[in-house]
Symmetry: none
Subunit: 225 residues, 4 copies
DNA sequence: TATGAATGAGTGTTCATTCAT
DNA sequence: GATGAATGAACACTCATTCAT
């Protein structure tokens, strides 16, 4: 509406990239500079992630976020264009992370069964380790603005397609059955991944890795010719 | 009011079977009242289901529901104690329906593989035919009041347990592998069911029944010893 | 954005017509009905008019309006779609009133000089008697939404054109000079009318009628051939 | 940034004459500072004038001003004590300019009719050439702090009085009618001047000078004995 | 049964201003 | 001189719910 937005929005990776999430050496900087260099937006994003997962996006007020993060609303809106932007950053972070990991596993030098199994198990482990992101992901997508939804969906599609390519590779090679379209296989698996937050109990009998191994094993068995 | 009704398979009449029309004594009602019996709450519930699925629970105002249903707020609050109540009714209806269908399949006189396959496929077909309910189910549970959530979860657990019992029966009988705990198997399958709304396209290549057959087949294959 | 607006906006005359501004006999109605029949919106409109004139549109908060009117925000938004709507109602009321009066004078059975003089004086008197409306009119037009501005401008143009027609009639008849385009003459006069609020002092030496007579006389003199 | 600058006659240089460039000792400044001397405040004032006219005072944020002027907030607050101050400077500039011009015309060596006519026409021409100033002047006075309003009004009064003195001089000399108090005559004329922005169209049939001549002629005719 | 006016606490967002650097 | 992160109070507006009728 106005042109005053000095580059604040529409740049999904800004507060989720290395600058903000990894330990750069703060030695050369004063306290204030260090604080200014991302501490506040990072804290806001972490707090928002937690609260969105706990109470839902609509159930979390901006006031609650800033109170929990120990800053004021003005600070939040200094870094994020809107509450919706904050949510978008959560998605951006997750998407980037998962894509990186999938690419690594898919490009590995190993038989396709092994690569698919590893990738399938890895996404389970990381999803369990970031259950907050997971619960937000599948529950709050519709709260994003239409264009941001579109963007997220596009990135998600890329991810799915990489995964599907693995399945198809195995099918072509004859190590996987092609009775079921690869796309359905992928959706089947990711349905269970997205719903981990519904049923996975950290205090349950199974560790994240055990759950991951079981789910990956099921996937592989369901692909046996 | 919206153009979203085109091509919907689940229609308004599926609300005919609920408690608003059951067990009333029609003798005491006037002709007009009889004609209208249950009409208003049924329409409200159908409208709310549609809107909750379209815009989310928090994104739908009570005013929008009553406007779309062609009644007034007073009428809504006459039949439902709160907006939350309305959501709860959606869950109650879905749960009752699915439990009934599962029980029928599970109690059938057939080999366990057949019973599990049929039940697994059926829940897919009915979920696709009632995608609105499905999308609400997995997305809006956290909006229910804690006690209603507890209640829904309890009913859901009963449902899952009946399904799991089928799996365990097959495992004991040796027709299913017991490599994976039955509970995980159930969660794996229902993850994909809950996420149908994310990826199932009515205009896609596969009919609901075909999708259901594929998913059931995958489930069965993943259980092969 | 939503279709829930049950006919609340876009109907400029609703709270400014007889129902709300004239004394209907409340005898047949209960207190509540009488109160409901326009008391609240009328009071809101009157209060808003006063405050907008005193402090400007942007300088008046919705909270101040409702506090001064003795109601709550909810009540205001029950009757008016927005703060902007409230402003629009002020314009609608003024425009309707002035057009009616001008039409009466212009259609009278009298020589054109007389009709123009009477109309010119009358608008001065009524503008002074409703200085709040006048000050709002010329100062806050740009705060209206673009479409409402357009609407107001269109009605204002109609008014000006009727006035201009009087001038042109006299010019054709030769009783007024046509040295100056009629349009300029009209703008000249209404500039002074709109600015009455800037300089007219109720406690000054001149009564509204005297001021009106002077300004009308100046107009007529400036039109002498 | 906007396309509104097309065909503007008043340019940025009219801010060259104000207190930011007068009376500084250039000796103490570096070449760079000298080059920049007064540049920033002048640009800020020009930008603010344009934006205030376009969007209103309240409708223009400080951020928008500094963005459009290509500086930062800190710079603005370095030169101007507040947003209100910026507005005040607009008034000060206009008032100083108009007073200078009026004085020149009023003190000229010519018959009073001629001097009044010239002054009356000149204020029209300069108002049209600086429509931004004009629209701000009559629309935003109430946004000034009370004391600044008082100050502006006092200067405005001086201006009006000088103009009125011309009218009275003619009335005493018998060349103008004294039917109408001189004060009313002045207000009549300046009403039309202040409202030029409402109706004057740069793309209309009449040039600024033609409009000015017409309005001055009307004034003179209305003063004929 | 059903109405709809009214409530009041809450929402996300804006913005002039300050100040350590 | 100039920066821009941060403030905090204010803003317009929403909405589930109540209740006299």
């Amino acid at each position: 509406m106005t042109d005053r937005d000095n580059g604040r929005t529409g740049d999904g990776d800004r507060y989720t990239d290395d600058r903000y999430t990894e330990g750069r050496e703060p030695a050369r900087e004063s306290g204030r500079a260090a604080a200014a260099r991302g501490e506040v937006p990072r804290r806001l994003l972490a707090t928002a992630t937690r609260l969105f997962a706990e109470r839902g996006y609509e159930g979390t007020s901006v006031q609650e976020i800033v109170d929990a993060a120990g800053v004021t609303k003005g600070a939040l809106y200094h870094y994020f264009g809107s509450k919706d932007d904050l949510l978008h950053e959560v998605y951006a972070r997750v998407l980037r992370l998962q894509q990186q990991r999938l690419d690594a596993f898919a490009d590995a030098d190993a038989p396709v069964e092994r690569r698919l199994r590893d990738a399938a198990a890895d996404v389970v482990v990381t999803s369990i380790e970031n259950l907050d992101d997971t619960v937000i992901f599948f529950r709050s997508m519709h709260q994003l603005s239409p264009e941001k939804q579109k963007q997220v969906r596009a990135e998600r599609r890329r991810y799915h397609e990489r995964f599907r390519a693995l399945v198809e590779e195995g099918q072509r090679a004859g190590v996987f059955t092609d009775e079921t379209p690869a796309e359905l296989v992928v959706d089947y698996h990711f349905g269970s991944v997205h719903h981990l937050s519904t049923w996975y109990r950290r205090d349950g009998r199974l560790s994240p890795q055990e759950v991951a191994d079981h789910l990956a094993a099921m996937l592989l068995r369901s692909l046996r010719p």
